[in-house]
Amino acid sequence: MTSSPATPSPTGRRAVRSDERRRGVLRLASLLLAGIGAIAWLGRSADPASRPLAAGPLSLGAAIALTGNANLYGQDQRIGLALAERWAQQDAAGGRAVRVWLEDGASDEPSAIAAFNLLIRQGVIALIGPTLSQQAFAADPIAQRQGVPVVAPSNTAKGIPQIGHFISRVSAQSSVIAPLSIDEALRRDPSIQRVAVFYAHDDAYSTAEVQIFDKALAARGLTPVTVQRTQLADNDFQTPITNALQRAPQLVVLSVQAVAGGNLIRQLRELGYRGQIVVGNGLNTPNIYPICQRWCDGILIAQAYSPELNTPINRDFQRLYRQARGDRRPPQITAQAFTAYQVLHEAIQRLHSKGGLTGVTLGQARVRLMHELLAGRYETPLGPIGFSPEGEVQQQRFYVAEVRMDPSGRDGRFALVGQRSLNGARP
């Protein structure tokens, strides 16, 4: 059967349309390919490291979690960085001005990589972040390869400074801090024999910290009577709690993130547990108070920061925090973010006064800044700190706090109950 062009048959029309569609696909695909090629060509030279260092203010890039499940920490970090900028402005007579470019590193790896790439391309001299250790394992190698110093304000997992010689942190490893709160619980009740442990088995921070708690318990002759594995996104813990309470624990150890931890504590108390609760670094934020409310009262937590430390810099930090947030006490994560900015700021000022930032490229300035950063000693809100040649923070003082809630049950504070100076850790 034939058909004239004027009266095509259904089959003929289909063939023509199929032909047009194929041509359309080819055209659109070529267009996309050309677009990708053009963008790739424009984006090929992303790092301005070879350009001379500009005379104006220096930029620090901060990639922290403002969205995603780590955003509770990111909000505290954002405050810490803003306060540090104000502190530096008050302190900066004659020094080199430093400003912060803040980007959302979200709570996943690709976003942290994108934020680091963006900030590096904008020509920052150093980076602060990312919020989570898992993100650090993805984003830090990029900064390392491009020779950009990184100061991690909240990565506590093992192996972060070992990513490379441009990577450092001001957040002490969990292995140093976590056992102190167990000691405090045992001091209060030496008869403790039965311990229940809860942790989120799909969370990097929890799984790393729970191993440290396990070691600390074993070193004190305690074997957990039950280990309950929860999930990062869980909010209902009735089943694991019921299972654990059947073993009549005298001490509960929790290593979970803030929101889950707040709910877990509340449900533990509601289901009748009256013993001591020791929690990990994930609950080191006042943002848990509205979640577990009056049930937060009495939980023990080891900290790398105490608001009660009476030093000039901590008093300055507290004053700035009160001005910004009213009559509240700053949390550890805010103090660590402040410290991350402070150590970079002080290293930049030292380098500037030595003339180390004159007549160099941005790449050379980054290398010099890293050397200066690691060589320095700093009086920070965390106490006196320094760095090992690898970039690991060397902090001398750690604290154990107890949460004391107001009678209203809506707000509370971390009250200092113990302090420990670790020998061998150089300030």
Binding site: P5, R21, I36, D202
Partner: protein, 299 residues
């Protein structure tokens, strides 16, 4: 401004979009893409960090040939897994198949989380680098995308592609016409797995680290959004959807804290304003006609 690192993520997004599109072209709503992506990524992460024969150097370098081998092995392992699971899950249709594939994603995620050699929740890090910057990844991802696109385009004129389209339109009628529907659906499922597994192997190196979170249910939904926004009737739809939705959160950074609100609005408004996706068959026909003499529409 899009840098080459973001462009790599966009191309990986487009590849994952195609991986969801392939079973959909045979009428099967499979959300298993992240499971195969995770399998490919975990295999590449394990091989490059544990198997010294592949030639990872102490300085973190990695031969490109070894990467290519990993891409092939990642695709092959994901394809084999799809072949084994596909026979079971493809008995289900529609929403039941979607639920079964979500279960597969969960099983793979929990397995990776609990296997003794995959690093638990922290995963595997310090994955060696075959390229010194993102351009190498860009070229590799682009070649993979062009290759997958070419196969999808060829499918249109091949008996397999026509059989897939017939099953999508009416599975019962296709079966009555003598098409072995099980075999065709399984082939599409395996092809989808190969694309996802290969993409995962490349992504593991690009991300420097690999953990169970990379293949979660969230990724199922994101990749499905690529297809819904881009369009499921032409292979260029998921490609455009993947490129666009991966880039958008980054391009919206200048608007600050509301960027994810705007991103959500695009996902909501996209299907409302373009129910058949941004790249519909009609658009492609108009594009094909453009510049050529107008044909008569009606006798």
């Amino acid at each position: 401004m899009i840098d080459n690192g973001l462009l790599v993520q966009m191309l990986l997004g487009a590849l994952l979009g195609l991986s969801v599109y392939l079973p959909l072209a045979a009428g099967q709503l499979s959300l298993a893409t992240p499971a195969f992506y995770a399998v490919g990524g975990t295999l590449a992460a394990l091989l490059s960090t544990r198997w010294s024969v592949l030639g990872a150097t102490a300085a973190g370098g990695f031969p490109v040939l070894s990467l290519l081998l990993e891409l092939v092995l990642g695709g092959a392992l994901a394809g084999t897994l799809a072949l084994l699971v596909g026979r079971l899950v493809l008995r289900l249709r529609g929403i039941y198949l979607a639920i079964a594939t979500i279960a597969l994603v969960e099983i793979v995620r929990v397995a990776i989380l609990n296997l003794p050699f995959t690093g638990g929740a922290i995963g595997i890090f310090s994955i060696p680098q075959p390229f010194t910057d993102a351009s190498g990844y860009l070229l590799t991802a682009l070649i993979l995308l062009v290759l997958t696109g070419w196969i999808c385009q060829r499918l249109d004129t091949m008996p397999l592609g026509r059989a897939m389209a017939a099953i999508r339109d009416d599975e019962l009628a296709a079966g009555c016409m003598g098409i072995d529907t099980t075999r065709v659906k399984l082939t599409a499922f395996v092809l989808s797995a190969v694309v996802a597994g290969t993409s995962g192997a490349l992504a593991a190196h690009f991300l420097n680290t690999w953990n169970a979170r990379q293949g979660s249910f969230d990724v199922s939904i994101t990749t499905l959004a690529f297809v819904i926004l881009g369009g499921s009737r032409a292979w260029l739809g998921p490609v455009v959807g993947g490129l666009l939705l991966t880039a958008l959160p980054e391009l919206l950074r200048p608007v600050g804290d509301v960027r994810l609100v705007l991103f959500g609005l695009v996902i909501v408004l996209g299907p409302v304003l373009a129910p058949r996706g941004l790249v519909s068959p009609e658009l492609l026909e108009r594009l094909g006609r453009w510049g050529s003499p107008t044909r008569e529409q009606k006798p």
